[in-house]
Symmetry: C2
Subunit: 257 residues, 2 copies
């Protein structure tokens, strides 16, 4: 079946969009059919996938507001096997509009139901840096959760809050949600801090932490400016190789109970 995976962490700038785009592209390269849904009104994942603003006619906002069938929102990217549902600034309105609706946490889950039989091996949900209704909708719609954690001191602070919210979602709307894995990002060998954060996270989460560690590289930060995932922008770079290695782990690792 289709694996629906939320990429979330309310801490900002930890590499959620970069991971959804790069991991998606690396899995597409392996031959899997992949869809990335952009749930952030800033639309960074849409940009990272090369979808120009003027080409975002039907977006995830239209789908959530139940105005458009989801099949009409899926667009191809320049990469074979890789598709997207883009977002625009309009999505910021959805958080406010959803608050007063019935079963507002389940809007996305219902909307993406048809995707389960659309031939996608993976569907990634890129979340904004908050635990508001858009992220809650993603956690309610997904079976798995991948949490990027930056190798920085502040990154450790929000983990308790995130886990608490995951438990709330599991208890109230989605008992099947599983924290699949933690990916350490922006590892910088110039400082002991990176190593210390990795050790701390491994001590806390054990086997849930992927073996692959994503290094901080200039090429990864440059790729969005060209609207290309790293595997296309600089295929032989450390960034591309590390996301390929992560893709193999995600594709082959058995879920941890």
């Amino acid at each position: 079946g289709t694996r629906i995976i939320a990429v979330a962490n309310q801490k900002g700038g930890v590499g959620k969009s970069t991971t959804a785009v790069s991991l998606g592209a690396a899995l597409a390269e392996l031959g899997y059919r992949v869809l990335v849904i952009d749930l952030d009104p800033q639309g960074n994942a849409s940009t990272g996938l090369g979808i120009r603003h003027e080409a975002r006619e039907v977006t995830v906002y239209d789908v959530l507001a139940a105005e458009a069938p989801i099949s009409g929102a899926v667009v191809p990217t320049a990469i074979p096997n890789l598709f997207a549902i883009p977002s625009t600034i309009d999505l910021a309105g959805a958080e406010i509009e959803l608050v007063s609706q019935f079963s507002r946490e389940l809007r996305l889950r219902k909307a993406i139901e048809p995707l389960r039989s659309a031939g996608f091996a993976f569907v990634f949900l890129d979340c904004p840096p908050s635990l508001g209704l858009l992220t809650i909708n993603a956690l309610a719609a997904a079976e798995e959760l991948i949490v990027p954690i930056q190798c920085e001191y502040y990154a450790l602070e929000g983990l308790g809050q995130l886990l608490r919210n995951v438990r709330l979602v599991q208890q109230n709307v989605n008992p099947g949600l599983r924290l699949d894995g933690i990916v350490m990002t922006m590892f910088d060998p110039r400082t002991k801090l990176s190593e210390q954060v990795v050790e701390e996270v491994r001590r806390f989460f054990g086997k849930r932490v992927y073996e692959t560690i994503i290094p901080r590289t200039v090429r990864l930060s440059e790729a969005p400016g060209f609207g290309q995932p790293i595997t296309v922008y600089d295929p032989r770079s450390r960034g591309a190789e590390s996301y390929r290695s992560l893709a193999l782990e995600v594709a082959t690792r058995k879920p941890i109970e």
Copy 2:
């Protein structure tokens, strides 16, 4: 009088907390009495100022929920002239609780009114990475806004959304709010991207962009782990010097109409 300055940008990880803490500490070093209010439930600014979790008895949550007078929430830091009102994870509840209250956007503005005659030269409001009620409360309470922008491609995307919201706040709740300045952060000379982003932002915002550019340095990312602002953790570092230079600009620059 007291200058009340919000530090906001809904893009995550751009250096909001690092700027509130470091700029606050550099101004305190110059002899100004400074207060930093942490409006992010993750409590990064509180940690960066060395306020241990067990010492956060009265927080900004208690103040917003109108249970505690603001004077009881102000705590000293280890740095002379530098004070804080810390936050904890409880603050995440405030966003939900505030939604149904009367004039919910003005809770903070009313609560901090007594601070205007408490001898602070500067009050910084560190915002979470979203445009929810906590950030709107900060924009409604402040007279000035400082926006940190990371020297990265994605950082340019959210600016339109931020400016639109600032205009909404100016039109509806706080006509006196002024976008004081933009501070470019995490400049990395190894990539042309940083230079290009700075040029683009200067083209768009002109004189509102501070001359001082904050470099990406390992020491700045290490300081929060020691609970010390950079001016204390490594006083001779490039990070400390750059925030001292920013402090001089903020303290002396006349507002731009």
